[in-house]
Amino acid sequence: MKLKQILFVMAALVLSIAAERVFLGAHESHDWWTEIPGFFALFGFFACLTLIVLAKAMARYWLQRREEYYGREASDD
């Protein structure tokens, strides 16, 4: 990641936490982690990143095949 991108993410995170402070009062919650400031922003960021990396790795080392793998029917329609 470039420095500019890191700064951009940081700015968005700060903005999210600020919004949480302004708009959310105390609300009951079952899970301690929802109390972490900016939790959902970090969750979205890392869930997306993990999903991409895991899926790509799984495809590359295990599941990806050329299009004609099951015979030519897939490509000659």
Partner: protein, 568 residues
């Protein structure tokens, strides 16, 4: 008789439509579902109606909140699909669509297992016609695999129903207790709900269907399965796990796909996961959530398939690696597609936001934190593939594809109407909450929920934007569970078809060779000692006359000599 009318409209309509003048058939495909929808609105909850059959009283119609919610949306999407396929002049497809919708309606109103089974199988048969109507080799083969999977599921269901009928002496369709009959029925339902590893028929066949056929296909089979699961298996804990797993499974595989309609098909698996998980929770809130999500899902998934279908119709392309730069030529398709894409991602003000929230809230109330987190991961993946990657590489990106056909007005009207309904449900959730089976006390638009959603989706968007150059599709396929029957198929064919065939051919050749040899020998025993001649030629080969005269003479001499010796 009025209680039968909605189904008669669709199933009877399928019989009437081919008899009507060709020019009116497209219009009839709109009229029948519309009338059925209006009739359903007047059908009071609690109605029951049946027909006697052998010693049983079949309950063909059982109306309550749950079946009505599915009935409304089934007829609604049939109307939208009819509008979308207004330009199609293919009677087979029109009849199949009506039959499919009618049997879907039959499933959600069935009050006993036998009626359910009959409509269940009718649904499989009529839907395969929509796959085959693409009329190419790939669709015929995919349709065949689809049919085989559904025959397997239908077989498990029938076995379960027979066992259940014998054990309980009743055919009435209600919640099941764990037992062998229930497990068999669950397998039958799981096939149609596309629960991995039984989901492969869906992602295999839906992308091969005709452009208009896939809109109908995306609506009925899986959602009818969600209905029967919530009727027969509410609160089964295994469904919580299966549903959550399939929600994540679908998004992972969708992310790796290159075919736009297969991406959407994997997201059916993922979205149905939310519903199955809701059914597994089994509380009133969760069943409401499953029903609401099925309702909204039919509307936005139909819209997404309409958008992807319009791209395929106009350009003839369906792969991300071949598409690109359509923003200039198909801007309205992009707008309508994005309404569907933001709905499925659960953006505020759209239908997915208010339906998905019910399921998540139900999981939250039941203290299923793992489920809430994993379903949120699925939301992230949904927005990534359907909301960002697919539209970016289809309408923008570096590729340049040009439409060579104009999109017919009926398609635009259907997409516009579907977008409007999705927006209406998002803006006024009461519209949707009012048709749910149980009373709803839930407000989706709270500051906490809004902020949470915006943060999750916003940061997903950031990651996509940073990595977009690395996410370009590849012209590959990804192995899935269908490997287990598609890969061994050539080996099985060798073993069961080609092998026995070769064996028969060999035995036939052997028998013929023996017969030929015997006939040669009987023509001339001298062949046993080898022959100087390649082939038999009677003129060359026949023994000279002298030999025969000699043999006869010797015989005569022998006989005479023998007689003579006897007389001595």
């Amino acid at each position: 008789m009025t209680e039968f009318m909605p189904q008669v409209m669709l199933l009877g309509g399928a019989l009437v439509l081919p008899l009507a003048p060709r020019a009116t058939r497209s219009a009839l495909l709109l009229v029948f579902p519309l009338v059925a929808f209006l009739l359903l609105l007047r059908l009071p909850s609690g109605t029951q109606a049946g027909l006697p059959f052998l010693e049983y009283e079949l309950v063909i119609i059982r109306v309550d909140g749950l079946s009505l919610a599915f009935g409304y949306v089934f007829t609604l999407i049939t109307f939208l699909g009819g509008l979308y396929s207004f330009h199609v002049k293919d009677t087979g497809q029109q009849v199949a669509a009506l039959l499919y919708a009618g049997s879907g309606l039959g499933v959600v109103f069935a009050g006993d297992w036998l009626t359910l089974y009959i409509f269940w199988e009718l649904m499989a048969i009529s839907s395969v016609w929509l796959i085959w109507s693409a009329r190419d080799a790939a669709s015929i083969r995919a349709g065949m695999r689809y049919l085989l999977m559904h025959l397997f599921g239908g077989g498990a269901l029938l076995a379960g129903i027979l066992l259940h009928g014998e054990q309980t002496q009743s055919l009435s369709f209600n919640a099941l207790e764990p037992g062998s009959a229930a497990y068999l029925i669950l397998i039958g339902f799981a096939v149609n709900a596309a629960i991995p590893p039984l989901h492969t028929w869906l992602v295999d066949a839906y992308p091969e269907a005709s452009v208009t056929g896939s809109v109908f296909l995306s609506a009925f089979t899986t959602k009818a399965a969600v209905y029967v699961l919530s009727r027969g298996f509410p609160g089964w804990e295994i469904l919580q796990i299966l549903g959550t797993v399939m929600a994540v499974y679908g998004v992972v595989f969708a992310f790796l796909e290159n075919d736009i309609r297969r991406i959407l098909a994997y997201h059916i698996v993922s979205q149905v996961g939310y519903m199955v998980a809701g059914v597994g929770l089994g509380t009133e809130m969760a069943l409401n959530g499953a029903t609401a999500h099925a309702f909204a899902h039919i509307l936005y998934k139909g819209l997404l398939f309409m958008g992807a279908g319009a791209v395929l119709y106009a350009t003839g392309q369906r792969k991300l690696t071949e598409l690109g730069g359509l923003a200039g030529s198909l801007p309205w398709v992009l707008v309508f597609y994005m309404v569907g894409a933001l709905s499925i991602s659960g953006f505020p003000l759209l239908s997915g936001f208010v339906s998905k929230a019910l399921v998540l809230h139900a999981a939250h109330l039941d203290h299923r934190s793992w489920m809430v987190l994993l379903l949120s991961v699925a939301s992230v993946g949904t927005f990534l593939s359907v909301g960002l990657k697919l539209p970016y590489f289809t309408w923008f990106g570096s590729g340049r594809s040009l439409p060579n056909k104009t999109v017919p007005p009926g398609m635009y009207m259907a997409m516009g109407l579907a977008s409007a309904i999705n927006l209406a449900i998002g803006l006024a959730p009461e519209l949707l909450y009012r048709v749910l089976p149980f009373a709803v006390e839930y407000r989706p638009y709270t500051a906490a929920h809004l902020l949470e959603t915006i943060e999750i989706l916003g940061f997903t968007g950031l990651v996509f934007w940073f990595l977009r150059d690395k996410l370009v599709g590849k012209a590959t396929i990804t192995l899935d569970f269908d490997w287990f029957y598609r890969r061994p198929a050539p080996i099985l064919r060798q073993l069961l078809v080609v092998g026995p065939n070769d064996c028969f051919t060999f035995m036939e050749d052997l028998t013929l060779a023996v017969a030929r040899q015997l006939s040669r020998l009987s023509m001339n025993p001298f062949f046993a000692f080898g022959s100087p001649f390649r082939s038999y030629d009677p003129d060359v080969y026949r023994s000279p006359l002298g030999t025969i005269v000699l043999v006869v003479l010797l015989c005569v001499v022998f006989l005479l000599g023998w007689r003579f010796l006897r007389f001595l």
